[in-house]
Amino acid sequence: MAETSRRTGLYDLHVEQGARMVPFAGWDMPVQYPMGVMAEHLHTRQRAGLFDVSHMGQVLVTPDDGDLATAAAALETLIPADVAGLAQGRQRYGLFTNDAGGILDDLMFANRGDHYLLVVNASCVDQDIAHLQTLAGVTVTPVTDRGLVALQGPQAATALARLVPGVDQMRFMDSTSLDWDGVALWISRSGYTGEDGFEISVPETRLADFARALLAQPEVAPIGLGARDSLRLEAGMPLYGHDMDGGVTPAQAALGWSIPKVRRSGGARAGGFPGADVVLAELGSSKVTRRGLRPEGRAPIREGVALFADDGAPIGTVSSGGFGPSVGGPIAMARIPANIPDGATIQAELRGKRVPLTVCALPFVTPSYKR
């Protein structure tokens, strides 16, 4: 694996800002800036943070017959979501499932009038595109000439509206095109931090200019992958490859909410996606599910740490864990038996010692979306 990491259109800007660059999903990405992970995290919760997410895959799915319903029907054979019922200018969260009912990837999809725009995980792009290309009646087009940034935080709308008037009129999960300095931005009001904010697709040729214009706003600081991870962990959001993968069903990942009634047993368009029998049978009856954990004391309990019931029986391993700067203590997530109630104490084995953790509901911080 001596492959060279790819660079986003913001690489030079990251280096100029003093970022520490690390390899991530085949890309050279900023893990932190001189501000440091803790301050970057808190800055995002208090003001506005700019994230380079250009490594993520942007894909267009266009109906060959010009009828968007054709593309919706095709996508619904891969994604257990209500694609057909998604209004123009709106975005939803969904999952690709496999034949065993596991999760191939998670994604955002938006109805952009005559096509759908999908945003998928960097580590799954090639797999997802190949998967989409099995569909008949649609053309699948990877977007290779645009980067993607996220502006997140309570002051994101104020900062972005100075450059792009009108964004403050958008609601959570709206998706639209707006002009900035002669180029079309594809903007959704969404993110991966639990904060209000936007994800903005920008033509590669103007990506760095746009990022610089955002960084020139007094509210905005650049934020690396380190804080991105602690922000999404506090927000109770799963990370693909950690909190879910091909061996984990939507119910086990606590993502059953993304499967609406219309696709469930008894619904008008029930099933019809890979692994539907397993996925639907498990909804509401899964023996394990993803939960929040609050370790006692200050020591972070990280991914891979073994978990035990109070009687000593092994019950799982931590799938994501670390320190939550806004929570002010360690937090973690794991798939554990669903019958363990919130408030129960379980044990983690850390450096040969047992550490108690309290099982809790997710998220750890209350989201502040503009619905």
Partner: protein, 119 residues
């Protein structure tokens, strides 16, 4: 006079004891420190024993005993405010050790040699 280890610890002789902390370089590499587990006072350690756990927002790492000896004191304040290590690492000491061998500090780097290592 300060001495330094290749593991980025600073060592300061005080009487017949050595005070141990980590360097600014180490604290910058670690990132924001959120948890520190210190050894017990009175513990007998060998050189190289992992006796302190430091957890930063990024990862867990260890600090080893630079020399063999007995832990005579630990900086309990760090347990409550581990971030002090990022603030001023040269005053945020971890533990004091009474070395078994009186000449224990002789082999370690001086400031010039340490600077050459990290620059």
């Amino acid at each position: 006079m300060l001495k330094y280890t290749e593991d980025h610890e600073w060592l300061r002789a005080e009487g017949d004891e050595i005070v141990v902390g980590i360097t600014k370089h180490a604290s910058e590499q670690l990132g924001d420190v959120v948890f520190i587990e210190l050894p017990e006072e009175g513990r007998e350690v060998s050189a190289g024993d992992e006796i302190v756990v430091i957890e930063s927002v990024k990862a867990a790492s260890d600090i080893t005993a630079p020399v063999a000896g007995t832990i005579t004191a630990v900086n309990e304040a760090l347990s409550d405010s581990p971030g002090d290590v990022n603030g001023d690492p040269m005053t945020a000491w971890f533990f004091r050790i009474k070395p078994t061998d009186a000449g224990a500090l002789d082999g370690f780097m001086d400031e010039a040699a340490y600077k050459a290592l990290v620059d």
